[in-house]
């Protein structure tokens, strides 16, 4: 207690001293701002102070950066990354000052992590945080953000695990490189959380070895943790006024007590054994003690309660994206924390990890702040400990409020954080990430990366060394067969496939050991998607059980027993030789439209025995149900006549004997009906068997093909829509070109000659028309001349060549001759084409001329003048 008191006093002293100094500093900072006015008086004071302060040496954080600067392309970065604004310079000065004071006051503490180097410059930590709200709904909540950051970036260890890094890169670079150390992780996450409206802070502190190395091998994989079954607190109904008393209990109390005692002992024994076992296991699992425990620097994110309905402050480890309570054992201490507004130094003792820390940042005793922001967190009054300090505080507060609103944190130099949709979808670097947990291994892939749609695989192991596989769970996405999750249990050999709604056979779950038919298998269905309302079909080698729901005939259950397959002489395939059915049991739910005595609850066709058993539903206030049993024996009486029906062929018990049911006729009709039903049921069973075969075949095909679905909204992957879109774009482009051409104005060059802004006179219009026409005529003639000229030139050339050939015909090599011949044919071709063109031009030219003339007459600009003329 005494020690504590002393400590408090020390702190008080420090506080007072600092307050005084701060006041000085305030004075200093002001002149800096008004430096242009050159107030010499304060300038001197400043120099004096600076001199004094500069005597205090600060240890410079040093270390080799992992991302060396030459790996980063600095040239593309915006200017704000390379230079400091005056305000930032000012801030750096303030920070330097603050740092000096701090090392003066607390010489035994580690230097502050205030202004690490960025890619090119020396900024301040807080301005590295750029609050940005991401345009993805998944990133609106903290868990989404944390998971994204942990997935998106690859972890790079700190250059020196005991010191903060010398460089702190902007989130832009980190995102581009997709790797970073814990500080980079935290900065990015913090930016995103702040953008999403959380009260988030980057924390510089000390973490456990597992935390710093992102070692999850001692953690239980979150996917393997089964959700806790909500304990059903069945509200015991209030005993009603008239509730009857239970019959008197006549068993011996003593015996009961003895029994309970015995059971308790046995239980205790068992529990003890179990506990011992557990302890032994724990012992084995325990890690070696870490020699650097408590010294490893780590950076994580703190989210304070209050904003976004966060009920309690918690930590997020940016490496794993998991949240921890602020009392967690992994977090061993806090040096300082910051966000885009301010920087706080922890003044509390961390002897008990972070468990006793109070995150009340407005409390200057616990948290020393660097800037007096306008938005400083509320000082909770109930936490006020030192009555004596109250006055000082008040004075300080006053001072702050009056003098120090002048300086706040400059806005971030970092560009807005952007993540492209592709990068967001790919998530992990190269779309793949592997995490090792305790007895589990988690692999993640980006969608569409694997051709079979695999996006996640969780392998659970039996032992800590991860050699014996216990079970494998594979999650799929975008599968055409709507397969969602595949679960393989190695110990039981059971495969379980889960499907989303939309499978062509309405399959929901498929549990099997092999894909061979007539084996143990369970298929569950989306019953609303099926016409027959089948929910579940269970199979064993000898039975098949089906469960139905919502059928108009009220069938709810059908159980089929198969006998051994009869070997046919002609060895036929399985399809044509179905197993014989020995028994079919069908159960029906109550049909409210029928009286209970006529509503069959269960009917059993004993096919081998030629018997049919019926059990009816029980009446509301009865405890026995009617039963009927038919023997289908076709016997012949003594005279050789066939016995149709005798009373011993139907044994029945009726709850309330009725007259008409005793009649043989009734029994006969019922039996005939049942025989028919038996046939139908057999057929149904046969169809079910066929369906199983069909489903198995389909599943095999699907597994083989494993085609992936591409949403029509996915413009990048959907080839069809891409083609279509491109075609559309092409068409649009062509259309545009045509329009531009159509808009070419043939009058424009002539109109331009006229003085602008004046109305055309008739004379001008006529002149314009004539000019235009003559110009066109000239063009046509020119064109004809041009063709003519080319034609003649070709002709001359040809003649020349021919002449040359004639002259040298004797001395020519066959190659030269070939050359000549090919030239000739080409030249002839050209000449012919030119001739054709010339003829065509001659034909069309007058027409074109007339067309232009007509067009000119119709031109809205000239029409009225020319009409008169015409």
């Amino acid at each position: 207690m005494e020690v504590l008191r002393e400590k408090v006093e020390e702190e008080e002293a420090a506080e007072r001293e600092e307050a005084a100094e701060r006041a000085e500093r305030m004075e200093k900072t002001r002149p800096v701002e008004v430096q242009k006015e050159e107030t010499i008086l304060t300038q001197e004071m400043l120099r004096d102070l600076e001199k004094k302060l500069s005597e205090i040496k600060i240890p410079i954080p040093a270390g080799t950066p992992v991302i060396t600067e030459d790996t980063i392309d600095v040239s593309n970065l915006p200017l704000s990354y390379k230079t400091n604004t005056p305000k930032e310079e000012h801030l750096l000065q303030v920070a330097d000052n603050f740092s000096r004071q701090y090392s003066h006051l607390c010489p035994d503490r580690v230097p502050l992590f205030l202004h690490p180097l960025n890619e090119c410059e020396v900024p301040f930590v807080s301005t590295t945080i750029r609050p940005t709200l991401m345009p993805y709904p998944d990133l609106y909540n903290w868990d989404g953000c944390a998971n994204f950051v942990s997935d998106f970036l690859t972890k790079v260890p700190l250059p020196d695990p005991l010191k903060p890094p010398s460089h702190l890169y902007s989130s832009t670079t980190v995102l581009k490189q997709q790797k970073g150390n814990c500080f980079d992780f935290s900065t990015l996450l913090c930016s995103m959380l702040l953008g999403a409206g959380y009260d988030a802070y980057c924390v510089n502190g000390y973490g456990s070895q597992a935390l710093c190395n992102m070692d999850l091998t001692r953690e239980v994989c979150p996917l393997t943790v089964k959700p806790k079954e909500t304990v059903k607190t069945k509200e015991k109904a209030q005993p009603k006024k008239y509730t009857i008393k239970p019959p008197r209990d006549l068993t011996s109390r003593f015996e009961q007590q003895q029994e309970i005692k015995k059971q308790k002992e046995a239980k205790a024994q068992k529990e003890k054994q179990q506990r011992e076992e557990e302890e032994r296991l724990l012992e084995a699992e325990k890690a070696k003690p870490d020699p650097l425990h408590g010294l490893r620097v780590h950076c994580w994110v703190l989210v304070l309660s209050g904003k976004r309905e966060v009920p309690e402050s918690f930590f997020i480890d940016p490496f794993t994206g998991r949240s921890y309570s602020s009392q967690d054992d992994h977090f061993l201490g806090i040096e300082s924390l910051w966000n885009h507004r301010n920087y706080w130094i922890n003044m509390q003792d961390c002897w008990n990890c972070c468990k006793d820390l109070v995150f009340d940042l407005g409390d200057p005793v616990r948290w020393e702040y660097m800037l007096l922001g306008t938005d400083k967190p509320q000082l909770s009054l109930m936490e006020e400990e030192d009555e004596g300090l109250n006055d000082d505080d008040d004075i300080e507060d006053l001072g702050k409020e009056t003098e120090d609103k002048s300086f706040d944190m400059p806005s971030s130099w970092v560009e807005q954080i952007t993540i492209s949709p592709e990068a967001f979808e790919t998530r992990c670097p190269n779309g793949k990430k592997v995490l090792q947990y305790r007895r589990a291994r988690l692999e993640k892939w980006a969608p569409y990366l694997n051709s079979n749609g695999l996006v996640c695989r969780l392998t659970t192991y039996e032992d800590l060394e991860c050699t014996k596989i216990l079970e494998v769970k594979e999650w799929y996405q975008n599968r055409e067969d709507t397969l969602e999750l595949k679960h393989i249990n190695n110990s039981s050999g059971l495969h379980t496939d889960y499907f989303r709604p939309g499978h062509p056979q309405a399959l929901r779950v498929h549990v099997y050991k092999t894909m061979q038919p007539e084996n143990d298998r369970i298929m569950e269905f989306y019953e609303t998607a099926r016409v027959d309302g089948l929910i579940k079909r269970e199979e064993t080698p000898r039975t098949m059980t089906e469960y139905y729901q919502g059928r108009p005939d009220f069938l709810s259950y059908r159980h089929i027993n198969f006998g051994p397959r009869v070997k046919k002489l002609t060895s036929a395939s399985t399809e044509s030789n179905p197993r014989p059915m020995t028994k079919i049991t069908e159960r029906f739910s109550r049909n409210p439209a029928k009286p209970a005595d006529e509503d069959v609850a269960e009917r059993v066709f004993l096919i081998a025995d030629e018997r049919i058993q019926l059990r009816y539903h029980c009446r509301d206030d009865y405890i026995t149900a009617s039963k009927r049993e038919f023997l289908q024996r076709s016997e012949v009486d003594s005279k050789g006549n066939k016995i149709i029906m005798t009373s011993d062929m139907c044994i029945s018990f009726e709850v309330e004997p009725m007259e008409h049911t005793k009649k043989l006729l009734y029994q006969y009709e019922t039996m005939m009906h049942l025989k028919n039903e038996e046939k139908l049921s057999k057929h149904q069973a046969w169809e079910s068997e066929l369906e199983v075969l069909e489903i198995l075949k389909l599943r095999e095909e699907e597994e083989e093909a494993h085609t992936l679905n591409i949403s029509i909204y996915d413009t990048k992957r959907n080839e069809k829509s891409k083609e279509y879109r491109e075609a559309m774009e092409r068409v649009m482009h062509e259309e545009h070109l045509r329009q531009v051409e159509a808009q070419l104005d043939y009058l424009a060059p002539f109109l331009a000659q006229l003085p602008p802004g004046e109305k055309l006179t008739r004379m001008q219009a006529v002149h314009l028309k004539d000019e235009c026409l003559s110009d066109f005529k000239q063009r046509l003639i020119d064109k004809a001349n041009l063709i003519q000229a080319r034609f003649e030139k070709e002709n001359q050339e040809l003649q020349k060549q021919q002449q040359w050939y004639q002259e040298n015909q004797v001395t020519l090599t066959p190659e030269d001759e070939d050359l000549y011949l090919s030239y000739c044919s080409q030249a002839m071709f050209r000449i012919r084409i030119l001739e054709q063109r010339l003829n065509r031009h001659k034909e069309l030219a007058p027409l074109k001329y007339l067309a232009l003339e007509e067009k000119l007459y119709k031109d809205p600009r000239l029409a009225e003048f020319l009409k008169v003329l015409a």
């Binding site: 009857i244 405890i623 026995t624 149709i644 009709e669």
Partner: protein, 463 residues
Amino acid sequence: MLSSGKMNRIYDSVEPRVIDDDMLKLAVGEQGPQEEAGQLAKQEGILFKDVLSLQLDFQNILRIDNLWQFESLQKLQLDNNIIERIEGLENLTQLVWLDLSFNNIKVIEGLDTLVNLEDLSLFNNRISKIDSLDTLVKLQVLSLGNNQIDNMMNIIYLRQFKCLRTLSLSGNPITQAEDYKMFICAHLPDLMYLDFRRIDDHMKDLAEMKYQYTIDELKHREHLRQAQLQEEQAQIMKLEEYKMAFVENLNGSFLFDSMYAEDMEGNKLSCLPIVGELLEVYKDKFVIICLNIFEYGLKQHEKRKLELDTFTECVQEAIQENQEQGKLRIARFEEKHLLNLSAIREESELLAIEKKIVECSEDITELFNVLMTLELQLVEQLEFFADKDTIVNAVGASHDMHLLKIDNREDELVTRINSWCTHLVDKIHKDEVMRNRKRVKEINQYIDHLQSELDNLECGDMD
């Protein structure tokens, strides 16, 4: 069948007949089940009350009779006879299909009890008015062709049959009217077929437009009548409720008026000048008290109802639980019993069989004992607690209030409440006794069945 019918007709054409037993027996025999089932039927004989369908056409029948036994008859054909009056069909309440075409019927009558009738054919008769069909609410098909119906108002009568879809009136004088079809379409909007033809929507629309005003008026009138009926019903319901609460006629001055209605002296007194005013004041106060009592009574009634509900609920719960237990026992027993029986069937040694049979019958006795114990337990439980005090309590409280009241009325109230109470308790007891007897009977029956089954088995094995 047909040929025999024709023969009959020719044979009997001279003499009109009355339906008699012989005719019915013959018809039932001929129209009953055929082949194997027919042999069985012949062997056993068919009871009239099991017959579902009967055909009596071309029999020259003049009078319907002797049909009272056919309780479950659903289809009856009496066409092509010379019937003049519809009679003797009162007992055939299950009838769905009735064919009386080609007869000499003049008036529709005697169909009031056939509430399930859906299809009625009176084709080719001498009917001139559609009437007496009010109770046939399920009527879907009505065939009245070739009759003498000549008034359009008959159509409006048919508006009350909400299920009527098919109507035939061809060959009636009414069809001569020029807007005959329109009129029917407008007045029977749910009708689908008229005179063997489907009514198209266009026709319906046209008809609706044409007769909009008359139909609206009709509808309005019908609506008013409906509302009135409902109101009356509600009134009756309310009165019933008040009666249940024993406070009927207390929410007004009825009691006061009735008091003075017989009080000659009082009437005389009221003639005096001041007494009149006093009487008014008295009356007002009286009515207020009456209203108080009325409300109080209703509240007490609610309370009683609640009490009674919890009571029945608890009893039901107990019975239900008991029932479940019984069912469980039986299910368990049956499982074992079945195994035992099959074991006996397979056993070949006589001694072993006998031993097993003895075991079985022991099981049966045990089951009987268990079930009976369960039942007795329930009876005991129910008996001890069904004390009426709690229910009477509510009555007692209201009694105090009633002291303020005129003796006469109070006595009536109290006696009624008491009688209600005793009645209730009696009923509960009676119900319980009934239930108990039923259950004991059921158990005995079941045990008997099991025993006889076992005996049969025994006999079979002995043979």
